[in-house]
């Protein structure tokens, strides 16, 4: 008997969930269409490019909308039960309010798992493709990944530091480059050159047209010219992670790889650390939204469908705004990355538990 009622309530979750997911995704796709329409027309790119751009964004929108669809599903489900008298019947039959919410919570956990799977598998690759189409084909920005950088500085292993006026990650060259080699904290060797190129065979940087300066205690520095110099700088260009971080275009393993590389070369990594926690905490939004929906449905005693849609949109929007603000606070190091990632879900969870307590569900 318990199983039947559990399954009955759980079944009522999925139709409004898929309906909400489809409708809101369509709305977001339309919004994206209008946003990029003027770049598309200006670029003269074919309709195929535009359709592919919109299609590649679909999984990304599904991941973003899933929590709102969960909220809508819980509101519709509980609202429907209350309006048909099934809620009262359940209470009269001895079911506690939270026991009747549990099936919906279980469904929201399943939806969260699906969201996480999509977030880590299909979304990064497809979103990156859509970004590539938008930036390169529609906006004509060839270097949108910022593989060409000015005034870079990086560490190449222990006590070796390199700075360059221009680092071209596409051609794997540097110009105006100075490499300093230290020993025991003291500058021992400096190689400055007009240019340097990565030699994949030797797996090192070859400096061209420069001078080597040796420093030794109190003696005058010894300077020697060279046409070509095979340096001890062995960090490959790919490891310098010059490309722009596209938060929705990278999976959790990708962020971890990036973090390891950034730490190795001494580059700041607060964005990556915050992004890691935001991605790890993202699946929690579904059960939190389910709790919010349950609290609202119980406090409003059902409410009408139009109100449910409006509430879902408003709450989803507020939640999205909090995620962005939390992430920016983490990037600016105002909050620790863990707090920045967890805070939105945590705050909403507290509000939902307060609401459920007020509705005497817990």
């Amino acid at each position: 008997m318990k199983g039947i009622f559990f399954r009955y309530i759980a079944r009522s979750f999925w139709v409004p969930f898929w309906f909400g997911l489809a409708v809101f995704c369509l709305l977001l796709l339309f919004g994206s269409l209008f946003d990029s329409l003027n770049f598309f027309i200006r670029s003269g790119a074919g309709a195929g490019v535009f359709l592919r751009y919109v299609f590649f964004q679909t999984p990304y929108f599904m991941v973003k909308i899933a929590p709102i669809a969960t909220l809508l599903a819980v509101l519709f489900s509980l609202g429907g039960m209350m309006s048909k008298g099934e809620w009262k019947a359940g209470l009269a039959g001895g079911w506690r309010p939270f026991d009747m919410i549990k099936p919906l919570l279980a469904c929201s956990l399943l939806a969260g798992a699906g969201q996480f799977l999509l977030q880590e598998t299909a979304v990064p690759d497809l979103y990156l493709r859509s970004t590539h189409l938008y930036e390169e084909k529609m906006r004509g920005r060839e270097d949108w990944q910022r593989l060409v950088k000015k005034n870079v500085a990086f560490s190449s292993g222990n006590e070796t530091f390199v700075t360059a006026a221009l680092f071209d990650g596409r051609r794997k060259t540097m110009t105006g480059v100075v490499a300093n080699f230290y020993r025991g904290g003291r500058l021992s060797l400096e190689v400055s050159a007009r240019s340097a190129r990565w030699e994949p065979g030797d797996k090192r940087w070859i400096f061209s047209n420069g001078v080597v300066t040796s420093f030794s205690g109190d003696r005058s520095p010894q300077i020697k010219r060279f046409a070509e110099y095979s340096s001890a700088v062995t960090v490959p260009p790919e490891d310098l992670v010059l490309e722009r971080l596209v938060p929705d275009g990278v999976s959790i393993p990708g962020v971890l790889r990036r973090l390891a590389l950034l730490r190795a070369v001494g580059a700041p990594c607060s964005e990556e650390r915050t992004l890691l926690w935001v991605k790890l905490c993202a699946p929690l939004t579904n059960p939190v939204m389910a709790l919010i929906g349950a609290a609202m449905a119980m406090l409003m005693r059902g409410g009408n469908r139009l109100f449910s849609v409006g509430f879902a949109v408003g709450t989803g929007f507020l939640f999205w705004a909090m995620i962005i603000m939390g992430q920016e606070a983490g990037n600016a190091e105002l909050l620790s990355p863990f707090i920045a990632g967890l805070a939105p879900a945590g705050l909403f969870a507290l509000v939902s538990l307060w609401g459920l307590r007020r509705a005497r569900a817990i």
Binding site: A153, T163, S192, P268
Partner: protein
């Protein structure tokens, strides 16, 4: 003589929905703009005063964007409700013509359009510019520095690296400081300082005071590479300013220029594409100001016809009308920039088409009733 009571009653119902719709759209757009400002990275130089002012000066532009949408929604909702309650039928049976019923709303549309002319062309852009200045201030100022060990951190023209950092005491070990000086795009000098130990301290928001001990300095001159400038020091103090002297002034986007400024820049510009961009932006503002009038013409016959479905249908009908109007306007603006022969007709086409559709609906739905 038709009593004005009926007209004021209609106006009151409409005004209630207009106020509510305007509040909702404005609140949504304020939130959206707030998130957009925050996502630019202003939190690193956060100031509640600057952020509040930045949002406040965006309000005229936000109201300018919300007003046409709110007007259309209010029209459909108010007329839908009146229609659903049978009040339109009652007024018609009482001898009121549609002109008499809707005249106050028409004057409200006219007033809204005139207000939008002022907001879109002058007040909004001026407010956007001031808001942009406050945002830029937050982006460029530094309120908090958290040095991390084994991490290169850029502070204006300098790059600072320390093997060990104690953020509580400000002590550092294994310090490296690098500054590149370029002449135009070509590298000219690279100054390097390294020290065994050092200490840092924030200096009243102007920069970072650094004291280093037992170190070396050297300079690389790309024009004279065989010459080495090198030395040692027992102690060395410097201030790394947060703002670079070479920082360029902010470039104003077209949305931050008033229409008169846009037209003068278009006339002065030697680049035809840039001139077209300015002209299209300026004229589009006038075209968008006609939105309330166009929405009145199309919203009135649609709203009055919502007998049974009332408010929910009115709400649903707002979306396709808005999508059509704004989608066509964006397309018209882009086509006008691409093909000068379409300027300025393509920009005013959406308003003309929407108004034409409204006139047709009036003739078919209202005069036939």
């Amino acid at each position: 003589m038709p009593a004005p009571i009926a007209r004021f009653y209609i106006l009151r119902v409409f005004a209630k929905f207009l106020g509510l719709s305007l509040f909702i759209f404005t609140a949504l757009l304020v939130m959206l703009n707030f998130v957009q400002v925050v996502s630019q990275g202003v939190l690193s130089g956060f100031s509640f005063y600057f952020l509040a002012k930045s949002m406040l000066y965006l309000l005229p532009d936000i109201i300018g964007m919300s007003l046409p949408l709110a007007f259309l929604l209010a029209m459909l909702l108010s007329l839908g409700q009146l229609s659903q309650d049978g009040e339109i039928i009652a007024l018609r049976a009482g001898g009121f013509s549609f002109y008499e019923i809707l005249s106050c709303v028409f004057y409200a549309a006219l007033l809204a359009s005139l207000l939008l002319v002022a907001v879109n062309n002058w007040i909004g852009p001026a407010g956007q510019k001031i808001s942009g200045d406050y945002t830029e201030t937050m982006l460029t100022r530094v309120t908090k520095i958290a040095l991390k060990p084994r991490t290169f951190q850029k502070i204006s023209d300098w790059v600072l690296y320390a093997a060990e950092v104690n953020s509580l005491t400000g002590d550092m070990r294994g310090v490296k400081l690098v500054r590149r000086i370029n002449k135009g795009e070509a590298p000219a000098f690279v100054n390097k300082i390294n020290a065994d130990a050092g200490r840092y301290r924030m200096a009243d928001g102007s920069g970072l005071e650094i004291e280093l001990s037992d170190g070396q300095f050297s300079q690389t001159d790309f024009a004279r590479p065989e010459q080495a400038l090198y030395g040692r020091f027992a102690t060395y103090s410097t201030l790394l300013p947060f703002f670079s002297e070479s920082g360029a002034r902010r470039r104003l986007g077209p949305k931050e220029l008033t229409s008169s400024e846009l037209f003068s820049r278009a006339a002065a510009s030697g680049d035809p594409d840039q001139a077209a961009r300015y002209r299209v932006e300026a004229l589009a503002r006038f075209a968008m100001s006609l939105a309330p009038l166009a929405f009145f013409l199309v919203g009135a016959p649609l709203g009055v016809g919502l007998d049974k479905r009332g408010r929910s249908a009115g709400f649903a009908m707002t979306l396709p009308v808005i999508l059509f109007f704004y989608g066509l306007t964006i397309a018209g603006m882009v086509m006008s920039r691409k093909h000068s022969v379409l300027y300025p007709w393509a920009i005013f086409l959406p308003a003309a088409l929407t108004s034409g559709a409204g006139v047709w609906l009036w003739k078919r739905r209202l005069y036939a009733k």
